[in-house]
């Protein structure tokens, strides 16, 4: 196309690029030198904006790339690993599960409702872009200290935002986790995960193909919301000083619902060559990635982009992060078919360009070229940093004998069950529609993982179930990142196992502080090392993920939080178990070895006010052996309820099972066990499960044969939690303490 030979024109009022403008775009002087070398001239403002977006930490992974490569990403069941909009795994019967977790931390802190809502919207689009109908959402939330003046407002807004978006979309929000810690006071974490299902033979990818094929824009109109670094730019462009726009995007779940249905309707035809949602960096990253992945060029006629308001310029159009938009490459001649579908759903539809063989991104504006960038060097010359890193040394091991036993056992259990991290989160998940679609088999709080029936399984056979969870124990990662990384993966794997499903793959959401500090980069490196080891040993590859760095306020970083989202499958959903203890007379069996590890335990923190020591070690071979054993026992139908032992230790796990199902237990520390009682019951040793079973003796015997530690602790029954010689507590008291904290906190006035 002849247009492409023209040098870009300068727009009216376009400023000269100064070092200050470069800095405001987040590019270092060295990075700007690379820009000049690639372009062979000074870039225009819109070109600079594109470099700035594509080379941002968020889009380029420049600090994390070298480390992310160390994660295992392959397995026979992996259809698509990291690098696409979401990961794809084969779940049998010609079906694929498509999933990913993504953060929306900074926007959620600034504007909790919209920040969290658009976080959900973004991750939903990542999944349905690939051809999947979303079947479940999860979210992992970390808030500051409950006593911090902003925390209540943030909890309220984030939860309402997640519910507001997901509920309207009609996707059940089935699981997640919520923690509180002062390290998140100035920087909360909102990590949202979506799981979808698609026919395995019909997955849609972003790689463009076919020179001349039309580039189509669908969805909402583009406005001036969320423009990256736009504060400076828009005042420079518009001298009559337009009011500054907030940088947080505003979500419209209704439009996204229409977009979902329209896209799935179009996907059922053969019209699509490639499709990509407009997420971070909007039109820039979507058009760029499609062309780059296809080894092609693209012409974008920016004046054809549907605009929400008049007077928008190319810079704003390329960098707007308006929500609910998609970019599609259609097969030639399919424009009218596609247009009709989008018009039926009352969405914008515009052909805004076409593919070329030039490997250049050419932007035109009313006939003039306003940007002309070679695509391959922007990818190959993108900055990659091997930042200096210092590993966190392993803290000293806390000797259980140095930790006081509770003077009041009942009080200690009630205090743990009502502490912010362990208290019931029902106040949160009752605001999420977790039942829509009619496939939710294990609801929040009823099992270690959520369990959702997979629609349209083959008739006649038992229905398949997808188990899903999110997990991370940031205080372990802070204490020792390698152990913490290993533990986060292991606990997610354990959660899936505890419902009887086979863990298949992971999505990771790496939330860390400033990577330019060696100790923070060391946390990242350590966590990756631990995760890589765990994912390898557990055959649990990483198929998608997201990195969120610079989570710091006034130089104070968050706890390193590599959130692990995981998915597993159970062939017959009727064989799955939850953690609710609903009948008496069942044997209570503890699987796994208890040494009484109190370092970094919640008991140590909540009862003794100490956040210290080495976190519990994770022996991955033992983890796998114990988990495989538990899953086999569930498959044999011997297990009535199962719960993994994690935060708070054995006594908390038992209490949770009892109050969830309304049945008590009477147990004792096994005779001859030399571990101090407070360490036995509150220690957080890994690779452990509590099983309730009508055939407990068979399980103990089978465990012995398999070399798995297993011990009968007692039996279910009654309406109290009884530990012989230590405590007897009515379940109603535990339940009241467990359920009262969050609603009480949220309804209190400051």
């Amino acid at each position: 196309m002849s247009l492409e030979k023209n040098p870009p024109v300068k727009l009216p009022n376009e400023p000269a690029i100064t070092p200050q403008i470069v800095a405001e775009h987040g590019l270092s002087p060295a990075e700007y030198e690379s820009v000049l070398a690639i372009m062979g001239r000074a870039p225009t403002m819109v070109e600079l904006g594109i470099f700035s977006a594509m080379w941002s930490e968020h889009c380029s992974y420049k600090s994390s790339k070298v480390w992310l490569k160390k994660l295992p990403t392959k397995a026979p069941w992996v259809i698509q690993g990291p690098g696409e909009n979401a990961g794809v795994i084969d779940i049998g019967d010609g079906q694929a599960a498509i999933f990913k977790m993504e953060s929306h931390n900074h926007p959620s802190y600034i504007e909790p409702y919209q920040g969290a809502a658009t976080g959900v919207g973004g991750i939903l689009r990542d999944v349905f872009t690939m051809g999947a109908r979303p079947i479940a959402n999860l979210n992992a939330l970390r808030f500051g200290d409950p006593s911090h003046p902003k925390t209540r407002h943030l909890v309220s807004g984030v939860v309402a935002g997640i519910g507001g978006y997901g509920n309207c979309m009609g996707i059940p929000t089935v699981g997640g986790e919520t923690n509180f810690h002062a390290a998140y006071n100035g920087n909360i974490l909102v990590n949202a995960m979506t799981v979808g299902i698609a026919p395995a033979h019909r997955i849609f990818y972003a790689a463009a193909a076919g020179v001349g094929n039309p580039l189509v824009y669908v969805g909402s109109k583009t406005g001036r919301d969320g423009i990256h670094g736009a504060t400076m730019a828009s005042t420079e462009f518009n001298e009559d000083s337009e009011e500054k726009r907030p940088t947080v995007q505003v979500g419209d779940p209704f439009v996204e619902k229409l977009l979902l249905e329209a896209c799935l309707e179009l996907m059922a035809t053969d019209a699509i060559v490639a499709i990509q949602d407009m997420g971070a960096a909007g039109l820039t990253s979507s058009s760029f990635e499609m062309a780059a992945k296809g080894g092609l060029g693209v012409v974008v006629e920016l004046d054809k982009v549907p605009m929400r308001e008049t007077g928008m310029n190319p810079y704003e159009l390329m960098l707007s992060e308006s929500q609910e938009r998609m970019l599609i490459v259609l097969k030639p001649g399919r424009e009218e078919l596609a247009r009709k579908i989008f018009e039926k759903w009352e969405l914008d539809f515009a052909v805004i360009g076409h593919l070329t063989d030039t490997q250049r991104m050419v932007l035109s504006w009313h006939g003039d070229i306003v940007g002309n960038i070679p695509i391959p060097p922007l990818v190959t010359e993108a900055p990659v940093y091997e930042r200096p890193w210092t590993l966190t040394p392993l803290p000293p091991v806390v000797d259980a004998a140095s930790v006081p036993a509770p003077k009041d056992w009942r009080g200690s259990l009630l205090a743990l069950m009502s502490c912010p991290d362990l208290a019931s989160k029902a106040w949160i998940w009752h605001q999420y529609d977790h039942l829509i679609m009619g496939n939710t088999a294990i609801r929040p709080q009823d099992g270690d993982a959520a369990l959702v029936r997979v629609p349209s399984s083959a008739k006649g056979a038992g229905h398949k179930g997808l188990a899903m969870t999110s997990d991370c124990t940031p205080r372990y990662v802070q204490a020792h990142p390698e152990t913490g990384g290993r533990q986060a993966v292991a606990e997610a794997w354990r959660n899936i196992t505890a419902v009887g499903a086979l863990p298949l793959a992971v999505t990771d959401n790496m939330n860390f502080g400033n990577p330019q500090k060696p100790e923070i980069m060391g946390q990242f490196a350590g966590a990756i090392m631990g995760m890589a080891e765990a994912c390898t040993t557990l055959d649990f590859p990483v198929v998608s993920g997201n990195v969120s760095l610079y989570n710091e306020t006034e130089g104070r970083p968050i706890l390193p939080t590599p959130t692990i989202g995981a998915v597993g499958v159970i062939a017959d959903i009727a064989k799955a178990v939850g953690s609710r203890l609903t009948e008496g007379g069942l044997g209570i069996v503890l699987i796994g070895e208890t040494k009484g590890w109190l370092g970094q335990s919640l008991y140590l923190r909540e009862a003794c006010g100490r956040e210290e020591g080495a976190p519990p070690p994770v022996d991955l071979v033992v983890e796998r052996r114990n988990g495989d054993f538990v899953r086999d026992q569930i498959a044999l139908g011997r297990v009535d309820a199962c719960h993994d032992v994690s935060d708070g230790g054995l006594l908390v796990a038992l209490a949770e099972m009892c109050i969830a199902g309304g049945t008590g237990v009477e147990i004792a520390q096994p005779a001859g066990n030399a571990v101090p009682s407070h360490a036995f019951f509150y220690g957080e040793d890994q690779a452990r499960y509590v099983i309730a079973s009508g055939s407990a003796d068979d399980i103990v015997e089978a465990a012995k044969a398999a070399g798995v530690p297993a011990v009968l602790l007692g039996y279910s029954g009654g309406a109290s939690l009884v530990v012989n010689g230590l405590l007897s507590l009515p379940l109603s008291d535990i339940k009241a303490a467990h359920e009262a904290w969050l609603p009480g906190y949220m309804s209190a006035t400051e």
């Binding site: 309207c168 779940p253 229409l258 605001q431 999420y432 977790h434 679609m437 009619g438």
Partner: protein
């Protein structure tokens, strides 16, 4: 029984109710797009849950003005039964097919939870498989389910037996503890005067299988099949 399920832009529980209908009848209902004012004759019309047109105005207010609802009003007047669930209940009250209105929940939050309902009468197409006074467990999922009607209307509803379900405690006690949204007199569902139109906030369609929320809602669909086949 032939059923039609309306679909508005933003409907999202149409699939759930279609699944429940298919489970009890063995056949898929006809899905009717909001612009279709001339859909095939059916024995039952279902107005499903969701966020019709985004519910950015008053919930159900826009949908009540749609071409398909004009036709539903006509057919309801001819006696074709209408089952309106959640957003559907809001739509039919806005359309004037049922008395009263649904306000924002008293606690101002969305609520998704199992609730217990007391069946007020078995004398209807919709409740003939239940006993009067029976307690059933079904979920709710809404932000605007707080039923309100003025005193005169309430008295008329009571006098004519137009109250279908009330929220209650698990033991059947009708008091504040079982009321999830502040509805006046714990009203969860009502009939029109001829009991051919029923609206309710809870979701019987999400309680038709033991593993997936229990099966207390199934009898509602079975009762309809019995009455309309």
């Amino acid at each position: 029984m032939k059923a039609a399920v309306l679909v508005f832009p933003g409907s999202n529980r149409e699939g759930d109710v279609a699944q429940a209908i298919e489970l009890v009848t063995g056949r898929k209902p006809q899905m009717v797009w909001h612009c279709d004012g001339d859909f095939e004759k059916t024995d039952l019309i279902v107005v499903p849950g969701g966020f019709s047109y985004g519910d950015y105005l008053r919930c159900g207010a826009m949908a009540a003005q749609s071409p398909v609802m004009a036709e539903v009003k006509k057919r309801a007047a001819q006696g074709v039964p209408v089952l309106a669930i959640c957003n559907g209940f809001q739509i039919v009250t806005e359309a004037g097919l049922l008395p009263g209105t649904l306000m924002r929940n008293a606690h101002l939050k969305f609520v998704c939870s199992d609730v217990h309902l007391k069946v007020e009468t078995s004398q209807s197409l919709f409740t003939n498989r239940y006993q009067a006074g029976q307690v059933i467990r079904v979920p709710v999922a809404h932000a605007e389910g707080n039923y309100f009607a003025d005193e005169t209307t309430l008295k008329r509803l009571e006098d004519r037996g137009q109250i279908a379900f009330r929220y209650c405690a698990p033991d059947g006690t009708v008091d504040g503890t079982g009321n999830p949204n502040g509805s006046i007199q714990n009203i969860a569902g009502v009939f029109n005067e001829t009991k051919t139109v029923m609206g309710l906030m809870p979701h019987p369609e999400n309680a038709v299988e033991p593993m997936f929320g229990g099966s207390d809602g199934k009898a509602l669909f079975e009762g309809l099949v019995e009455a309309l086949t």
